[in-house]
Symmetry: C2
Subunit: 341 residues, 2 copies
Amino acid sequence: MTAREGERPQVTARATVEDVARLAGVSTKTVSRVISGGPHVSPSTRAKVQEAAATLRFRANSVARELRSGGVSSTVAFVIGDLTNPFFAAVAAGVERTIARSGLTLVIAATDDESRQEPAVVAAMLERRVRALLLVPIAEDHAYLDGERQLGTPIVAVDRPLSTASSDSVVFDNHGGAMAGTLALLDAGHRRIGFVGSTSRLSTHRERRSGFLDAFAARGLTADPDLVRTDAPDVAAAEAATRGLLSGARPPTAIFAGNNRATIGALTAIRRNATTTGLIGFDDVELADALGLSVVAHDPELMGETAARLALDRLDDPGRALEQVVLPTRLVLRGSERSVR
Amino acid sequence: MTAREGERPQVTARATVEDVARLAGVSTKTVSRVISGGPHVSPSTRAKVQEAAATLRFRANSVARELRSGGVSSTVAFVIGDLTNPFFAAVAAGVERTIARSGLTLVIAATDDESRQEPAVVAAMLERRVRALLLVPIAEDHAYLDGERQLGTPIVAVDRPLSTASSDSVVFDNHGGAMAGTLALLDAGHRRIGFVGSTSRLSTHRERRSGFLDAFAARGLTADPDLVRTDAPDVAAAEAATRGLLSGARPPTAIFAGNNRATIGALTAIRRNATTTGLIGFDDVELADALGLSVVAHDPELMGETAARLALDRLDDPGRALEQVVLPTRLVLRGSERSVR
DNA sequence: CTGTTAGCGCTTTCAT
DNA sequence: ATGAAAGCGCTAACAG
């Protein structure tokens, strides 16, 4: 070695335990013990091995390690529809934090909210032998997951239950939240209230719509079905739907928006329309506070944390009963239930 | 087999190629060929193997496959500071999409914007033998990455260059964007303009601050240093900083907000203050359009896509010259450069 | 077209 | 405290 103190010789190929063992003059098993922090290694041997590892820039291959150690990976998969939606991004952040705290690594894959993509994306995750699978379900049928669960992979449905309802899950109280929000609009004096929601293919939105309708029933009123829009999956569609409602013959005096995209679209349409209209949205949105926007709020990061926790709990005890968590929503009134500009 | 047509026998242990080979009466290599879609297999053998695989609910172990096939994994790591920030979530979405289109899988790990965590988080990713590493740098020194790059792992710095500037990178034109935004405030007639930015430990924010100052210089003016705040890393701090500015003896008539958190905090403070104040923010924010909020906009998803593309390009050609992409910003004026309520 | 053998990098026996 | 040999599940290399 002619390398000077403090310099590392240039290493161009990846070292293996065997290389380290050779340089340190010990067996591969001893190297393995040192890099895994195992017991039964004398301090001097340990030091020798660590120096050899540093010299060779050795980095343990966790793929090989996991294969040998029973094929149980240390990754957890989160299959999500759309990471660009801040709601799901916040859920993902909660998942990541909880997973990382357990020393596991998070793999994220998106289905782009396309039912047909889900099985393939999930299959790719399962081929990686992920320790657990967290899934925002979008496919119509989840029977294809039954076999996997029998093989012991924890599966947690996030935000919506599986079509088969046969897994741990964490959802929000969609019906109750939507009902509370709608009641707030009714109590502010509104009677003609529009509903702008995403596709009714999603259980979340069906539940929110029925919460909306049930709020009327609870006051002995009936919602005008002509004011219910359930086909506004994005901001632009929600804006158009709201514009359509506001420009009708008998426009609503308030809007209940079924999710964060709908809220933004509805608010944009309302401001463009130069009317004052009441507005409450499901999901918190950034700037809601600054805008005095009333919302049905919840904690998406807690949803992510809970989902990860459910998976970890099932790893601990595969036999435990299915747990289906319903997280509460919280009505936050800031004034827009009366009118917003 | 007594299972009826259409039923699958209950399988409780994970099948391997060996199990499938035995059931199909072929060698493991033939099974391998079939499941990898390889050539040189007769249709009848292929069918036999596929049936056996289905019966046993066989699922290839991609971990073992990759180990055997040279240890080159099909995962790409994205080490991010904070996934709860919609800006970074959007970047992550761009990364995910591009990575997935190449048949690769994305691993996401967060550093919580803590310098000290970065090396450990990065090390964990490298031990997984990720094919490439995308990193939003937060550590002070990135010399620790030099060895890894020599070993051939593409490393791409995202949003900020590495401290060593020794990698491919993709950033926004922070100086130009901030300058354009500030010029718009000056051209709207403002002379006392406050700057609210996140920590000056980040190069992005230093560049935005100098863009802010240089805009004054370009008009032969000088910014009042008392109106420059560079210690507002989150919404609450930005709101407090803005409130402080607005309640000063000679308050600014406009604010330039250094990022999306600062914009939200500043807008909240302005609305609470019941003044009309000009406002332009760096980063687009949801609802900006509805609010008539002028911003220095850009394309975070494009940043993610570009970062992934840089990594893939370097995998293709490890010898190519370093590429340091500067993505443009776009000034979007919606009225708040004059005043916002 | 199909099979045999060896081995990816690591850790698990089981010795010593 | 340390080591030799075997093998995790799969595929490359080379038969045949």
